[in-house]
């Protein structure tokens, strides 16, 4: 007999896997985006099960709130002037891609499941936001600053790409 948290965990896991399959296998790109949003919500639930509520909230804020909206804008900006192609390519290409992914799945599955990870029996406690902030600003200061620099450069770069495409100097 499974307890209630286990049943909810299985539901969240099912949601994540079904969302990933919808993302990959759906014919329309909008349906793929909706599947991606479903997957991200499922992964936020898994983060809650991993004692990381702050990461779960950041997952919903950044991925569901920002990145999927950005992809939706890209779809809408690139979409309206031509007939949307079906996402299915030739069956041969799909079969080859499927074989490659299945082979990589089997190989990595054997590697991951046969490895001896060092499990600690330490009692898992909830890492608070204060812990994450102390690590970020104490030990990981340089990567933090580099990430902010990367985001600034990428925003300026995307604006410059759009301006160059319009022919403005």
């Amino acid at each position: 007999m499974m307890s209630l948290p286990e049943i909810i965990f299985l539901l969240v896991m099912f949601l994540t896997m079904v969302g990933a399959l919808i993302t990959v296998l759906s014919g329309s790109i909008i349906y793929a985006l909706i599947g991606l949003v479903t997957t991200m919500f499922g992964i936020a639930g898994l983060y809650l099960y991993l004692n990381a509520p702050f990461i779960a909230m950041m997952q919903i804020l950044i991925y569901v709130g920002a990145i999927s909206i950005l992809i939706a804008f890209a779809i809408m900006l690139a979409g309206p002037h031509y007939k949307r192609p079906k996402e299915w390519t030739t069956p041969v290409k799909f079969a080859v891609s499927f074989i490659v992914s299945i082979i990589s799945f089997i190989v990595l599955f054997r590697v991951v499941m046969n490895a001896q990870w060092m499990h600690t029996k330490a009692k898992a406690f909830c890492i608070t936001t204060e812990n994450i902030g102390r690590v970020l600003f104490d030990k990981l200061m340089l990567p933090f600053e580099l990430i902010s620099l990367l985001i600034v450069v990428s925003i300026i770069g995307s604006i410059m790409l759009a301006l160059i495409a319009k022919g403005e100097k």
Partner: protein, 107 residues
């Protein structure tokens, strides 16, 4: 009482591996660039899930894995912004976004 199933490292590793495989499949057979971008987001989600799972099960008393998951989110946001700019540029030049015909640099 037995340990619950979510108290196990391997099931999270399996989920991350499943997301990686779905991302590889989509990246290989999608026709449009936006489809490939969505598949890359799947792969990055799997990587973040692996980081948090390893932090939870192998060293639960520090927060390095969680911090690197935040870094992955930042990299994914930057990549999505750049990819949106490139998609708009490609669409204005070619009037479509299929990856097959974009081959000027190859010739």
């Amino acid at each position: 009482m037995a340990t619950p199933i979510y108290n196990n490292l391997y099931i999270f590793l399996f989920l991350g591996l499943f997301l990686l495989t779905c991302g590889i499949l989509g990246l290989l057979y999608r026709r449009t660039i936006i489809g490939m971008l969505i598949s890359i987001e799947l792969i990055m989600n799997g990587a973040g899930l692996n980081f948090v799972a390893f932090n939870r099960f192998t060293s639960p008393d520090n927060a390095f894995g969680l911090s690197f998951t935040l870094f992955i989110m930042g990299i994914a946001a930057a990549e999505a912004a750049i990819a949106m700019g490139i998609v708009i540029l490609i669409f204005r030049r070619y009037r479509h976004i299929e990856g097959r015909d974009i081959k000027e640099m190859k010739d």
